[in-house]
């Protein structure tokens, strides 16, 4: 510690040098601040160029062009077993493994994958930073309690990364750079105290530092191979030879200089693609991919406390036009399983003209959605997972049998029987809920026929299963003159010989063959 402090002095001297007195006082006041330590969790993805090409591809090698020559950058498991090594020429690699698939490094895709991972990591910390091409940093001091401590948090992150098919090296340190270097060094390090940083970094080879090769070479020429060696060099000389930036990096790593980072913020609307290497027609597989996309979507919304009511799946084909599958819910939701169930119902009916080459999931406009607290385990003993709300039920029904086939009803104040009701859209907001009371006391049937049915006649008497017996009536309805659907009818209640209660009417003005036509309009059920 004292050694570090002694080496630090030249930097301080460059700024306004505090007198020994003020320095002591500063330290005193700085003590409480030291309690609010930051702790950085670094996720280093050494195989990102390979992993960005898709999961589980063992026969793949990623090649990169350097100074006009292609070289193998990374190779999949089977390729490595066959002897394909980084730095080989593509031809040499192909000679070793004839079935080898070579793919050019795609940094744009790597960046996309990195952003997706950053989105996923946002569930663990509100501060996620993308630091370089293959490094993600999380500030976790504030998250430790929520995730049950450092070990548990680390385990959750590691398990999640592994499940997503990423090989990651994780390290925790009080400064972002120290964490990054430790992770790059492949050490499962966990340093909590700033005082211990130096001890952890000391033996770390300089190759972990992402410094330019020329600097590393000349350092190696001086016999300097690890960070401990570097620290022992005189500061001025080091700064002169290798640049103030390198010195600053060392200071930052050890916590002697502040290292501000920017938190990464994802766009507020979700859009993710899943590209396949070859066309896929297997619907189960496509569904599984959709589920994966939905999970990423859920994570995306979860970190923002948002939900959405609409989703759009697009299935791309090589030759045909893309097929789109919109999904809608009655309320904002983000749960992947919920959306997946809706998707499965709709997907059953979806016709795909061709095999699929890529799937895109685009989220709809989002709405604030706050998580509801789960009940304590001992409160609700009964399993409630099968229970869902009306809106969820309506969604499920509509997803399978169509939106227009699931609805509510409203009464409307109109004397014309066929206009005295209207369907109510269960998915619309509650605006259409304004109920109008109809006049009480009038006889109305429980069943209304979609269209009045013309009754056959016998000697001027209407028939339905035989001669009708009139019970009450007439109730004269003459209204609707303001539009084309005006009516002038006399309604009667009648009973058929077989006991059915019927609601029949005759038009007052329309004569048919000199006789009045009778219609059946409803049944008293």
């Amino acid at each position: 510690m004292s050694m570090a402090r002694a080496r630090r002095s030249p930097v301080i001297a460059r700024d306004s040098a505090p007198t020994p007195d003020t320095a002591r006082r500063l330290t005193q006041y700085a003590l409480p601040l030291a309690k609010a330590e930051r702790l950085w969790f670094c996720v280093y993805l050494p195989k990102l160029p390979l992993e960005a090409c898709g999961p589980g591809d063992d026969d793949l090698a990623v090649i990169e062009e350097r100074q006009g020559v292609h070289r193998v950058l990374l190779a999949g498991a089977r390729a490595r077993a066959a002897g394909v090594l980084p730095g080989q020429s593509p031809n040499a690699a192909l000679a070793l493994l004839p079935g080898l698939r070579l793919e050019e490094r795609n940094e744009i895709r790597e960046q996309q994958v990195l952003e997706l991972l950053a989105t996923w990591l946002e569930q663990f910390s509100s501060f996620v930073s993308i630091a370089g091409r293959d490094v993600l940093l999380l500030e976790i001091a504030g998250s430790l309690r929520l995730f049950g401590g450092l070990k548990s948090l680390r385990r959750q992150v590691a398990a999640g990364l592994e499940a997503q098919g990423f090989e990651a090296s994780l390290a925790i340190a009080p400064t972002p750079l120290a964490a990054t270097w430790l992770a790059r060094g492949g050490q499962r390090a966990c340093v909590r105290e700033p005082a211990n940083i130096m001890a952890a970094l000391r033996s770390l080879p300089l190759s972990c530092l992402d410094w330019p090769p020329t600097a590393l070479e000349s350092l190696a020429g001086m016999g300097i191979t690890d960070i401990g060696d570097c620290q022992r060099l005189p500061r001025e000389g080091f700064a002169r030879r290798f640049g103030v930036k390198r010195l600053l990096e060392l200071d930052r790593a050890l916590g002697h200089a502040p290292d501000p980072r920017n938190s990464w913020r994802a766009p507020e609307r979700f859009c993710a693609d899943f590209e396949m290497t070859e066309e896929q027609g297997d619907r189960e597989l496509l569904l599984a991919i959709c589920h994966e996309l939905l999970q990423a979507h859920e994570q995306f919304l979860l970190t923002r406390q948002l939900g959405t009511q609409r989703l759009l799946f697009t299935f791309f084909h090589l030759k045909a036009k893309a097929t789109s599958l919109p999904l809608g819910g009655a309320r904002a939701d983000r749960a992947a399983d919920h959306w997946y169930e809706l998707l499965r119902l709709r997907f059953e009916k979806l016709v795909l003209p061709e095999p699929v080459i890529a799937i895109r999931l685009r989220g709809g406009t989002t709405r604030a959605l706050h998580a509801t607290s789960g009940s304590l385990a001992f409160q609700g003993g009964a399993p409630r997972e099968h229970y869902y709300s009306m809106s969820q039920l309506a969604e499920r029904l509509a997803a399978r049998i169509g939106n227009e086939s699931v609805h509510g009803v409203n009464a409307v104040a109109d004397y014309r029987p066929q206009y005295a009701w209207r369907t109510r859209d269960l998915f619309a907001a509650r605006a259409a809920d304004a109920l109008t009371r109809v006049r009480q006391g009038i006889e109305r049937p429980l069943w209304l026929l979609p269209e009045p049915e013309l009754l056959s006649m016998e000697n001027g008497h209407p028939l339905h299963q035989g001669k009708l017996r009139f019970v009450s009536g007439p109730e004269r309805l003459e209204t609707g003159w303001w539009d084309e659907h005006g009516i002038a009818r006399d309604y009667y209640t009648a009973v058929s010989p077989r006991g059915a209660g019927l609601w029949v009417f005759r038009n007052r003005d329309h004569q048919r063959d000199g006789e009045t036509a009778w219609y059946l309009h409803g049944m008293f059920g």
Binding site: H386, Y388, M390, L393, A394, L446, W447, P450, R498, G525
Partner: protein, 220 residues
Amino acid sequence: MVGARMPRDSDTSSLEKLLENPRVWRARSQPAPAEGLSSGYTQLDRLLPGSGWPRQALTEILIEQYGIGELQLLMPALASLCTEDPGAEPVEPGWIAWVAPPFQPYPPALQKFGINLARMLIVRPRNDSEALWSAEQALSSGTCAAVLLWPHRLDDQASRRLQLAAEKGGSWAIAFRPLAARHEPSAAALRLELSADHRGTRLAILKSRGGSPAVLHNVV
């Protein structure tokens, strides 16, 4: 951290042992009152076990034709299900799902019978299998207090499924079937036959779990 971990197995078993003690009274484990849902017709209530419609079970109503009072028979009970009971604890009133109704249930008349129109769900499936699926979903959702279903066909297995869904969701299932179905086996807890002629209606209890067959005249 280590101290916080509890030996779970022994704990739950000792809890169970404690709960077996007859002196422990649990509010939730009261024997469910076998009381039925009052039909609103005293004559009928007297003949039904639990003096009312069987809750959380399938009721089958066999009818010869529509319009002979088959809905009026249910209306008082349905109205009590979908309106808030001022005396009872504040429970969301249930929904009433109509799956594949043969005609349009007419809101003005429903209102007259006291049905809360805001709690009506009408489902018009395209075929019988969709109808059955919809009814099952509605029954097991736990949101529908009653589900009315008009299937073209309902075999023994389907009726069993409806019965199970009704039990699961605590919902009352009512299936309307033609008279011809009276000789088909069914898992329904209650089977009624409603017929009418010029003298009036005749309601026969064909099967009643915990009750006995009976015939009533002019209930509706």
